[in-house]
Amino acid sequence: MTEKAAGRVSIAFKLAGSLLILLALLTLSSCSRHNGSTGKGGKSSAAMDSTLVISMLGDADYLNPVIGATVTSSNIFGLIYPSLLQSEFDTTTGLMNYMALEKKLRAVTAGQGKKAPKGAIAKSWRLSDDHTSLTYILRSDAFWDDGKPIVSADFKFSYQLYGNPVIASARQQYLAELVGADKGKVDFDKAIETPNDTTLIFRFFKPVPEQLALFHTSLTPLPAHRWKDVKPDEFRHSPLNLKPLGAGPYKLKTWQQQQEIFLVSSRKSNLPKPGNIPAISFKVVPDYTVRLTELQTGAVDVVENIKPEDFTALLKANRQLDIKTVGLRVYDYVGWSNIDQAEYRKSGAVKPHPLFGSARVRVALTTAIDRQAIIDGYLKQYGVICNNDISPSLKWAYNNRIAPHPYDPAKASALLKSEGWLPGTDGILQKNGKRFSFVLYTNAGNARRNYASVIIQQNLRAIGIDCKLDVQESNVFFENLQSRKLDAWMAGWSIGLEIDPLDAWGSDLKKSRFNFPGYRNPRIDELSELAKQKMDPLQARPYWLEYQEILHRDQPITFLYWIKETQGFNKRIEGAELNISGTFYNVDDWRLRPSANIAQ
């Protein structure tokens, strides 16, 4: 060992502190250059008063309406792009209302109509008497952010993108009624016509109810002049995806992927107007605890899906916070295999499941589960007992005469006894030598379902049913569910605002992809078809009432509870109207109170 080398070691230690700082600055500067190239927010923190910060769990996938498939993406591109019609969920009826500048689908009921139709590109529309063609008249004063006019050809071009199998848009279902779709390929020459810049005609191969026709023809457009040279197989990775050209109240300023999407109010926009708040930052914060902390410290203004157990501490820690609720769109359930899944997988034969094949057993299981205890213990006032998959929020269709199956272990035992399930020597029910024992699967990372599954396990044990719990990684769980490998599971659905239950309950198990329990009742298929044929949804109400009664009687699954989604808001936000159609549906109308004016 040389003295020189040993001396270096010693010096290194003496200078460790300063070296640390030096290296820190070096690496930091290289990093800051990297960030500088991805963009500049251009705002000073003193001006936080003019920036709304919304936290999000993960980044948007695409800020392109044709391929952006996540809720986060559509929340954001909804602010950037214009829309043909304005839509609003009417909370008094539970029906969607569609509005053009000079026409509304329905009269606006009292207390509704918060969203002005000024953002719509359509001035009016006319549905042909036979309900097979829909003609829109567009306004002529709508412009993309680059100054080019928004014309009917933009819509036709965009629908061709939505329908292109190479692009694989998640919204191609919207084209299902257009001419040619029944033969497997939309004939765009006939299905969408643009006689001039302000006339847009959609043609359907069958009569379509007006509400559905408006819903399916009002997909967000892309500017044709900007995208026309992009080949379909390059569409998903085109650099244009990073520079969206829209016409809505906000413009994209910077997108630092996996960190932040920064929008600024688009000063020239007349669709409907420049956003009130000058800037909106969508900030990625993956960890739930950290999102809560940031809401408390004021670093973010909105955090979605706050767990009810955190409300008290949150509101106590910061009185400037508010919990807003939206609902009811999401429910949890316990799925029971109605059919013998192993047999079905093997031979395609449909036989009743040895445990859950009988409706009476399934009713007994629902009766044995104390759903109110789960709500009281976890969701509190943010949960409502669920009877079937039509939400109480869809008032026009909801059957409020159905009384929930009450929690009644004695009745559950009696029902099971009548089905031949009697206690064995170990206390577990038995029938023909088969024990009533099964595994209840659920996906990992859902505190609410974990809580519920433990209560369900106890409830079932109390009437002599052995229920083991197993938590699986989400991908694995979903694949097992799809391939019908699970006998009992706990999951949830978020419902659409149009009722279309055939995917979930259709008797043709090959077609109804989400009928995981294998439930089959031909009357359900009939009712769904009958309801679809009605051109006015209100006329379909009797069918939906009967539909709900059947589901209540058959209990293909145990419907547990509807969940009010709970969003944390900083009180400096004013004018926020939360709606079942989305937390951010009127974000362009929100205002920020300057921090100096916030009362303590």
């Binding site: 060992m1 080398a5 040993a6 001396g7 070691v9 010693s10 230690f13 460790a16 070296l19 640390l20 290296l23 820190a24 690496t27 930091l28 500067s29 290289s30 990093c31 800051s32 990297h34 960030n35 927010g41 705002k43 000073s44 923190s45 001006a47 936080m48 996938d61 695409y62 498939a69 199998p165 190479v166 694989a168 848009s169 998640a170 191609q172 279902q173 299902a176 998903r236 990775h237 995806n241 992927q257 996996q258 960190q259 932040e260 900030k283 914060v285 993956p286 960890d287 605890t289 950290v290 902390t293 940031e294 410290t297 670093a299 989400s474 991908n475 694995v476 694949e479 979930a504 989400f514």
Partner: protein, 321 residues
């Protein structure tokens, strides 16, 4: 030594290739589907099929493998499934500087504090100071990083708001000027680097203490003291260099960490680094990104080991390569 390094690098090629092939088959045979997101009500059943066709997942597995192989041999690892179909190395290039910054700072702090604490503990063996440092080091060493991070956030960002909770910069930090921007960045890095380095330094301190105690008892240390050298010279010039030999191995194995990142810290502090890229890729079954990450971390482990062996030979003349 050059021949040795060349040989090791040559052996590394089939090794890494084998790892990649194994990864290719394991992830495709594992349950889960990259197009699973598109299987939901309201989305046409055709979409998942079209997406799979785009990703080339409809071919039989051997065909997929040979296509992949042909591309990889041309240096094309493909495009990410889950991140806007960016080329995978673009995704990694965006995440890497962030991970590098955190990891480099952490490693410097780790080794500096770890070695210092280790020396003090060894020199003052069995004193109150040694016991205090040992217990403290073990306390932090056994603490889960994610929990420690959350506690630090609650204490130093929420109760006593000295530091920001998450992110790399304040909103609008670009307007602070280059120096202000860097200081703001440094301010955001204090908590995560502290969490990572306290834990790591505690571990290194244990190593250094052990090897230092062994060295201090050697005859040549007694000789050095007998020569009348000052204690400082004995410890830093004679003992430390020999005691640091095992630590060099640790340095080699730290190389993959610099590039692979620290997942929990990245999730908690919302840093878009390599740890998050890797884990999100796994959850999204983003095959090309998983393989590219495996390629990078596999190569680094091999290089790290080689680096440690070479350093060892450089530091210890008794070892010949």
């Amino acid at each position: 030594m050059l021949i040795y390094i060349f040989k090791r690098l040559l052996i590394a090629v089939p090794l890494i290739f084998g790892v990649l092939t194994l990864t290719f088959f394991i992830i495709r045979l594992a349950p889960g589907d990259p197009a699973a997101f598109f299987i939901q009500p309201g989305i046409s059943p055709n979409v998942a099929e079209q997406i799979r066709a785009q990703y080339g997942l409809n071919d039989p597995l051997p065909v997929q493998y040979f296509k992949w192989l042909a591309n990889v041999l041309q240096g094309d690892f493909g495009r990410s499934f889950s991140r806007s179909q960016q080329p995978v190395f673009d995704v990694i290039a965006e995440a890497l500087p962030i991970t590098l910054t955190i990891a480099t700072l952490t490693l410097i702090a780790n080794f500096t504090f770890g070695i210092l604490i280790g020396i003090i503990s060894a020199v003052r063996q069995n004193t109150f100071l040694d016991r205090f440092l040992t217990v403290t080091a073990l306390f932090f060493y056994s603490m889960p990083e994610f929990w420690f991070a959350l506690m630090m956030i609650i204490l130093l960002a929420l109760k006593f708001p000295f530091f920001p909770v998450s992110g790399l910069n304040e909103i609008g930090a670009e307007s602070y000027g280059p120096l202000g921007f860097m200081l703001d960045r440094a301010w955001h890095l204090v908590l995560p680097v502290t969490v990572l380095s306290i834990n790591g330094a505690a571990g290194i301190a244990r190593y250094v203490r052990g090897s230092m105690l062994e060295v201090i008892r050697q005859d040549y240390i007694r000789t050095a003291r007998a020569k009348g050298l000052s204690e400082k010279v004995v410890i830093f010039k004679h003992a430390l260099r020999n005691a640091l030999l095992p630590v060099i191995t640790l340095m080699g194995s730290a190389l993959p960490f610099i590039f692979s990142g620290a997942l929990f810290i990245e999730v908690i502090f919302a840093f878009p680094g390599m740890g998050r890229v890797t884990v999100e890729a796994i959850f999204a079954r983003d095959y090309p990104l998983i393989i590219a990450n495996t390629f990078i971390s596999g190569s680094l482990i091999v290089l790290g080991n080689l680096f440690a062996d070479v350093l060892y030979a450089v530091a210890d003349p008794r070892i010949k390569l």
